[in-house]
């Protein structure tokens, strides 16, 4: 049996467009003599459709789109994910299209409600298996998490199972280490059921999520024999053959796809794809961002150029009297290295007028933190004015470390439509800069930018280290507290200094309100700020209370 995995970039809500893409892929598959063509989870409507699922007409259109796809593609078997309304309930379903119509429907059994997922807000779980026959092989249909709980699946399929292939359609977003984890799950599933597993994942950026694709096939020994591209569309074709010894063999018909070189490369590609897709799926061709000559704005600019092309990125430097000649010149150097348009708009005269006006308020201090924040807000105002005038998307440049502790100005440096590196810890931003230079074989990001001690340059001689712990230490604490929900006691027991731990945790908790008003950005860690981590703003839970 020849199987093809149609790993494509579906757009949420674009049912007609997604169907059109699938028809084109079907045409390709026909030319390759494929027996079975598989599309990802909710491929018809994109993932996650969120509260679009509460619209009756949206569900009706899901169904009519699948019916039409079946009619248009009658010659092969297709498995495709869609949102199904059935007797008043909604299901996350996989339709099996054969001979011009929906022949069977499998309903996802393992609905997930952790991290970024809210499936039981919308779906009822399915309860029965669906096994189809294609080219004399028995094929069980499953959806995403269904193969993660292997005991549940064994129970669903019955044992011993009579299937030669388990097909799994997924919409599984990227985070660090996820690709490898998924391959383990696929391999374990193949071994457990002594059958081939064909795993077809979605690809593309959707708000804060990036689906990395990385679809794959394992033979019945659990060996991964084919892997699709990561962070790009792909059509993975393989022949599945039961052998006389009872094993099921899988043989790819194409040469292996190129894969990311390492974890850092995965992160880089995720950021590029997430940025590209957010921009174009929301109708933006051009982006603009502030270039300060610092590491964060530099790395963000590199990603923007990789995502959208140098001709579509504008860098703006907005110096005040606090910016050193070196950083201003580095900003310009970055723009030159990338070949992007570069504008200089000094903020000093605006700052002066603001300061003058604010003296109307008795007690205004022309030099305090409010005055520092004001500079960032003027820059935000300039970027947003240019965005409004020219229709460009503003990219913000804050990293995860400063987002976590609130070392940001609301409506200032957080002002913009997409926060490219908001889930990248500062220490990883440095690694990305080195990765960029290494991959390019030249200093795209100048050494000076990498080596200069970080500063917001909002007052004379300011350094990040005046307000924050060393970033190595800060990022360790943040990983434990934010990603792993560790208590103060656990963090201290792991060797981190208690006074710094307490200080950092207080900063993180106190700044939830800022994050709530921040733009979305690409999730790349186990737990990103956003849908992944939902904490109240009004929250008196004390970091110290667990250390009593």
């Amino acid at each position: 049996m020849r199987i093809a995995l149609g790993q494509f970039n579906a757009i949420v809500g674009d049912l007609a467009g997604n169907a059109e893409k699938m028809r084109n892929i079907y045409a390709d598959a026909l030319r390759s003599d494929v027996d079975l063509l598989v599309f990802p989870e909710l491929a018809v409507c994109g993932y996650p459709p969120e509260d679009l699922l509460h619209k009756k007409h949206f569900l009706q259109e899901n169904r009519s789109t699948v019916d039409k796809l079946a009619a248009d593609c009658p010659d092969k078997t297709i498995i495709v994910g869609f949102a199904e309304s059935h007797q008043g309930d909604t299901y996350n379903s996989a339709a099996v299209l054969q001979a011009g119509r929906i022949n069977k429907i499998y309903r996802k059994g393992q609905l997930i409600d952790y991290g970024v997922f809210d499936e039981r807000r919308y779906f009822q779980p399915g309860t029965g298996p669906v096994v189809i026959n294609v080219a004399d092989l028995n094929i069980a249909v499953t959806i995403c998490a269904d193969i993660w709980d292997i005991e549940w699946l064994a129970n669903l399929l019955g044992s011993p199972t009579q299937v030669q292939v388990i097909v799994n359609i997924s919409a599984s977003p990227f985070h660090l280490g996820k690709i490898e984890k998924r391959q383990e799950i696929v391999s374990r599933c193949a071994k457990k059921f002594d059958c081939a597993v064909a795993y077809c994942n979605l690809v593309g950026g959707q708000d804060e999520l990036v689906f990395d694709g990385s679809s794959c096939l394992a033979d019945s020994t659990g060996k991964l024999v084919a892997a699709g591209r990561a962070f790009d569309e792909d059509l993975i074709i393989a022949d599945v053959t039961p052998a006389s010894d009872g094993t099921v063999q899988v043989k790819p018909v194409q040469p292996p796809a190129p894969q990311p070189t390492d974890l850092l490369d995965e992160v880089y590609q995720a950021l590029v794809l997430g940025t590209r897709d957010y921009a174009w799926k929301n109708g933006f061709r051009k982006v603009l961002l502030g270039l300060s000559g610092g590491i964060d704005t530099s790395v963000t600019a590199v990603i923007a150029v990789a995502a959208l092309g140098e001709e579509n990125v504008v860098g703006i430097t907005m110096p005040s009297k606090f910016n050193s000649p070196e950083t201003i010149s580095d900003a310009e150097k970055m723009a030159k290295n990338l070949g992007i348009e570069f504008l200089t708009i000094p903020i000093e005269p605006i700052l002066k007028q603001f300061d003058q006006a604010l003296k109307e308020a008795p007690g205004w201090d022309s030099g305090g933190i409010a005055y520092e924040n004001l500079q960032a807000r003027i820059r935000g105002g300039i970027l947003m004015s240019l965005s409004n005038q020219f229709g460009s998307l503003v990219l913000t440049t804050g990293n995860k470390s400063e987002t976590a502790v609130g070392y940001t100005t609301l409506y200032g440096d957080t002002a913009g439509g997409f926060a490219v590196i908001k889930d990248v810890p500062k220490t990883m931003v440095y690694k990305l800069a080195e990765h960029v230079n290494k991959t390019a074989g030249r200093q795209i990001i100048p050494d000076d930018v990498i080596n200069r001690p970080p500063s917001a340059e909002l007052r004379p001689g300011q350094k990040d280290s005046d307000s924050l712990p060393d970033y190595d230490l800060l990022d360790k604490i943040l990983k434990g507290y934010v990603e792993e929900d560790k208590s103060v006691q656990q963090l201290v027991e792991s060797g981190l200094p208690k006074d710094v731990v307490l200080r950092v945790i207080r900063m993180v908790d106190r700044n939830e309100y800022k994050r709530r008003q921040s733009p979305p950005g690409v999730k790349i860690t186990l737990k990103a700020f956003g849908k992944d981590r939902r904490l109240p703003i009004t929250n008196r839970y004390s970091p110290c209370s667990d250390t009593v």
Copy 2:
């Protein structure tokens, strides 16, 4: 049996503080010879604790707090809600405290995952009933939604049930009509099971939610015989007595609590409580807001004064050349009527410098929409600077109608910590203004403010009606589309003009990104923007597609 419902304002995360409050209420109840004291759902940790529930130490502390409460209050039976960790699972539980310890635990069976609720993200459902005996009465313990699905409850309790009282502890947030709906549910439950029902709800504001209290008791005929205060703490005490005819009678021991005069009064009180609690629970004593002389800022100012006192509210008018002398004078009049501090900070000189600086960008238009937005952003910058300088919370003043269609400037008029009337449609803002004047018996909000055609005053002669449909029509469309998820076809069939419907829906969909970065505000309708309505920003679902 004498029962007391301890309707109190719990703070999320403040376990020690909440327990202290409950100990004080227990002391009051002792003095009133109460047999059974009931506290709301998750009273120990506040509702909703969201991802605090993912912290192991938070769950441990929930348990130790309940244990201590039991030890401190040994003389009466107490039912209290807490987050329970049990054999690796987490439950939304009610502890029955008797004789100094936890005697029984009921686990919520009907977990809810719609609207603002995400319970299955955290909790496993309980499966068994808990019936306790107090003063010779059998009392079944239930939690919130458990009494909404009456067939499920009948199944849980068995039939015929041997209970005389069903206690329901709740954390049920307010929206228009909810109080009445809940009373229906309580009454229906009493009738169905021929027993008294004692319903104890949480009170207080928590981010975008307001819990209205409104605890109540029904006798076994379904008659409501006691209702606690709305939007305030209360201790409702009543005697429950089985009569010889098999009915269960309930007799309040206090005179009836004052109740809101009508639905509009409920909304007003919800806004006041939500604003007050957001401010003080987050450590703010003072608030500031822009006063434009328009209806939205005027109504918001009235609510702020009611919430925090005139001495804690500062109004700032920030005129440009586009503001008429009338609106400037009305802003001042409002401040005088309310007795609040008033500042005037003209934005013209700042605007001029911004405009000058932006001319560095070829193509900048000193008169277009970007220039209009810039004025709002300068005002946002001024308010935030004052907030940073003086530690006051900025209240934003946008209503639901303009929030829905994006007739706002991101980082401009949306800049602030709390959006008081963000869920109040413009037509209801007018009604609130009339309600305020009527209740006060004088023109707190001048007639001119109410009667002047609304304008953002960002260009000469601008009117809201230049850009938006008439607010009566707009609000009808928004109610159908936003709150009721109606399709274009349904809206048109209900008599709304198709061209306007399509235009409005496009505006709503296109502006999701602005709402995502807006501050929280009080939910008062069936569906508010925020956790209640979760739509993707990247969303190609077309409003027209359902009209094919």
